[in-house]
């Protein structure tokens, strides 16, 4: 018997699958960020000099740009997470998970723009010096 056929085509992606893959990916990224964040903030114990030095490093243009991505990850993970909770605890959520996904993503995109645009402008400022 054949355990793993290799010539198999990729399984078609549905809304739920994509949502799940992104949820996992953003989740893992956020865990990495969380560790970094705890380590960075830990420098606050070293007093103003030490803290500001680290903060300067993590507020370089590169990090400022990455932070916009971070916002995206947080918003996606949070709102898809809410979708899962709604699906699990509401009466008709299971039936309407695609619509809920669309609604959640609309809110997330809106918030991303609200938060991301100023961040991007700030990033451009810093970049320009």
């Amino acid at each position: 018997m054949l355990e793993k056929p290799s010539v198999i085509k990729r399984y078609r992606l549905h809304v739920g699958t994509i949502a799940w893959i992104l949820h996992r990916a953003t989740g893992l990224l956020l865990v990495l960020y969380l560790m970094l964040h705890i380590w960075v903030i830990h420098h606050v114990s070293q007093g103003p000099a030490g803290f500001n030095k680290v903060m300067k490093a993590v507020q370089s243009p590169l990090f400022l740009f990455l932070e916009i991505g971070l916002l995206g990850c947080v918003l996606y993970h949070a709102f898809n997470g809410l979708r899962i909770i709604i699906v699990e605890f509401s009466r008709e959520g299971v039936e309407a998970h695609k619509q809920i996904f669309a609604a959640m993503m609309a809110v997330a995109v809106f918030l991303f723009l609200v938060g991301g645009v100023p961040m991007f402008i700030h990033f451009l400022h810093v970049l320009a010096g």
């Binding site: 893992l28 114990s45 803290f51 500001n52 507020q59 949070a78 961040m119």
Partner: protein
């Protein structure tokens, strides 16, 4: 080496959801206040330190820390359970994650609790 038998996942499932909801609320506050978001300003010691010194914010930050660590590492643990099937490997990873969580918790706690501006 085996990891302790839990209830088969009920509590992991339940607390993942509870901390998830809590995190969303905490995050909104965190973003709005700590990061001074609308202004997109630079984060400096002067901005952070006074807040970190108040008891309310200490409690806030610690709750945040515990929730985020549980939610994050429990999430990793779920992924691991999906793809790692050897019981021994699972147990090693389980304890590694626990240790990591503990270390980060301590690191966070010693940042927050004794802090004086």
């Amino acid at each position: 080496m085996k990891f302790p038998r839990t209830s088969g996942g009920f509590y992991a499932w339940l607390f993942q959801r509870l901390t998830g909801i809590l995190l969303v609320i905490l995050l909104i506050i965190h973003f709005a206040i700590t990061h001074n978001l609308p202004k997109g300003g630079e984060v400096t010691y002067a901005l952070v330190a006074p807040r970190l010194a108040t008891a309310t914010w200490k409690v806030f930050d610690l709750t945040f820390l515990v929730c985020a660590l549980f939610h994050g590492l429990n999430g990793v643990w779920m992924v691991v359970q999906d793809y790692v099937h050897s019981e021994t490997a699972q147990a090693w990873i389980f304890y590694a994650l626990c240790t990591l969580g503990l270390v980060l918790l301590v690191l966070g706690a010693i940042t927050v609790i004794p802090f004086k501006a």
